[in-house]
């Protein structure tokens, strides 16, 4: 079976500085795959290339067998890519509920508002608040809930646990496992390899803009110290 997402030899740069070099990776439907790498390795840039917010200089992106490399961001979203950006991307001028309603429902798998509020009761309580009046953890939930409401098939999550307390990190872990159980595929950028190994099936290690290694969970657990040291944590 062909993978849901296939990235082939993506190169990307900002001006003269090349940030991604021949990055290739595959994510199968239903998988949770992480992308680990130091600060500045190019993880966010890769997600932006996948979402259509940054134009790669070379390479192709295939979603469900169709080449989407040239598509604008909104068409990619309508094909099922859901971005959860590193700053959470909550609109300050929209209420919590409006943040949830902003993306159009794209398929039958789009969550209803009721389902979103059932899974995230805190968002229901705060639905009239301006989006950015929420705490960091609540904003993260809102960002994830928003793309589920849209009906995204593939979540692109950029460091969802960054800056959150251990309790909240565990909660995000539960959410991601629920998301996976609901059949949604996740490409997760994560520096916290211990957390990553509790939610993901496989891991890509990105170093200096290249895929340096692919690891499975047992390898990550065995080499945790080495990896943490490498990531500078």
């Amino acid at each position: 079976m062909s993978p849901l997402l296939s990235v082939q030899c993506i190169n990307a740069s900002y001006g003269e500085a090349q940030v991604l070099r021949d990055v290739s990776l595959d994510v199968a439907a239903g998988e949770v795959v992480t992308l680990v790498g130091r600060n500045g390795a190019g993880k966010t840039t890769l997600l932006r290339c996948l979402m259509g917010l940054h134009r790669p200089t070379a390479g192709t992106v295939t979603l469900d067998g169709a080449d989407i490399t040239g598509l604008p961001a909104h068409r990619r979203a309508r094909r099922g890519l859901g971005l959860v950006p590193d700053d959470r991307g909550i609109f300050a001028s929209l209420s919590v509920e409006e943040n949830l309603r902003l993306p159009p429902g794209i398929s039958d798998s789009a969550w209803s508002m009721d389902r979103v509020y059932e899974s995230f009761p805190v968002l229901k309580e705060r639905r009239k608040f301006p989006g950015t009046k929420l705490s960091g953890g609540e904003q993260q939930m809102l960002a994830i809930a928003r793309v589920l409401r849209m009906g995204a098939r593939l979540l692109l999550c950029d460091e969802p646990t960054e800056g959150l307390s251990p309790v909240l990190v565990r909660q995000i872990g539960d959410i991601l496992r629920d998301v996976k159980a609901a059949g949604v595929t996740v490409l997760l950028v994560e520096q916290n390899v211990r957390f990553a190994s509790t939610v993901a099936d496989r891991h890509y290690l990105l170093a200096q803009g290249r895929v340096a290694q692919t690891l499975d969970n047992t390898e990550v657990k065995e080499r945790e110290h080495e990896l943490l040291e490498y990531l500078g944590i």
């Binding site: 917010l53 909104h74 979203a77 971005l83 609109f91 001028s93 409006e98 902003l102 849209m150």
Partner: protein
């Protein structure tokens, strides 16, 4: 006392024009990041549109009030498609130059045809007398302008605050790229928003025709003041631009009573003070201030 109230009322009527013009400038700036210098020229075209329709085709004020904003709104959309859009990616100065140049061309074209002499436009039938508002009589047309402008402002606010289109405009104004990532074709909305802003300018122009002289330069002085209004209200803040429009109209009128001659200057002094105290303007959000 009644004298003061009368001045305040006149100020609010003037403020109506500031509010409608500032509202259009604010939505255009918010969505496109373009400072539309031609806004005053479209105000002037609105007044001339009503004037020409009346004199060449006998079309009355009420029809002009509907037709002229629609027609100039369509011209605005075409202008965005053909010219403004091509320059958006470049330095904002290019669009400033474009709209400034356009202003000069439009002004001179009308001056060639009609001269610089102010042209009279009759007050619409039915709004010629005065209305008794209890304390004293107000000119009916001025009352109409005030009420109508408030209604248009409230309507625009409801559109932005309560509808899906308004939600998309707010989101795209705040973070265009992220809005696209949420599955929304932001580009589709840019032309209509630009046209809407221009239509508001044209609407103010039609409203101005029976009250003020119709002349090629009528927008030129006004627009500088409206820029100050937008800055005081908070760049890109819809509510702020409307509120500041009415507020400044009134302050200006009252200022004129106490310190005649300084009324216009005082707006710019106010702008400087507001910017020192709140760099994002009275109603602007800090993160939108650049």
């Amino acid at each position: 006392m009644t004298d003061l109230l009368q001045h305040a009322f006149n100020g609010l009527v003037n403020g109506s024009f500031y509010a409608l013009l500032a509202l259009g400038l604010a939505v255009i700036f918010g969505m496109l990041g373009v400072v539309n210098f031609a806004h005053g020229a479209f105000y002037m075209l609105g007044a001339f549109g009503a004037f020409i329709l009346l004199n060449e085709a006998g079309v009355n004020f009420w029809v002009a009030l509907l037709v002229v904003p629609l027609a100039l709104g369509a011209v605005g959309m075409a202008l965005e498609r053909l010219l403004v859009r091509r320059l958006v990616a470049l330095d904002p100065l290019y669009n400033f130059l474009l709209t400034f140049g356009l202003t000069l061309i439009l002004q001179d074209l009308l001056r060639m045809k009609y001269g610089s002499q102010p042209q009279p436009y009759p007050q619409p039938a039915g709004l010629r007398g005065t209305v008794d508002l209890g304390l004293f009589d107000f000119p009916a047309y001025q009352v109409f302008v005030l009420v109508f402008s408030v209604l248009v402002s409230v309507g625009a606010w409801l559109l932005l605050a309560r509808t899906r289109v308004g939600m998309i405009i707010r989101a795209a104004t705040e973070r265009p790229e992220l809005t696209r990532a949420m599955g929304i074709d932001v580009g589709r909305w840019i032309s209509p928003v630009f046209g809407f802003g221009i239509a508001l300018a044209a609407l103010s122009g039609v409203l101005a025709a029976p009250m003020r002289a119709v002349s090629p330069l009528m927008g030129a002085d006004l627009i500088i003041l409206v820029f100050a209004v937008v800055v005081i209200g908070g760049l890109g803040s819809i509510f702020g631009s409307v509120a500041a429009g009415f507020l400044i109209g009134m302050l200006q009128a009252l200022g004129n009573v106490y310190v005649p001659g300084l009324a216009t200057t005082s707006v710019f002094i106010l702008m400087a003070v507001v910017l020192l105290w709140r760099p994002a303007g009275l109603f602007g959000r800090e993160e939108t201030a650049v």
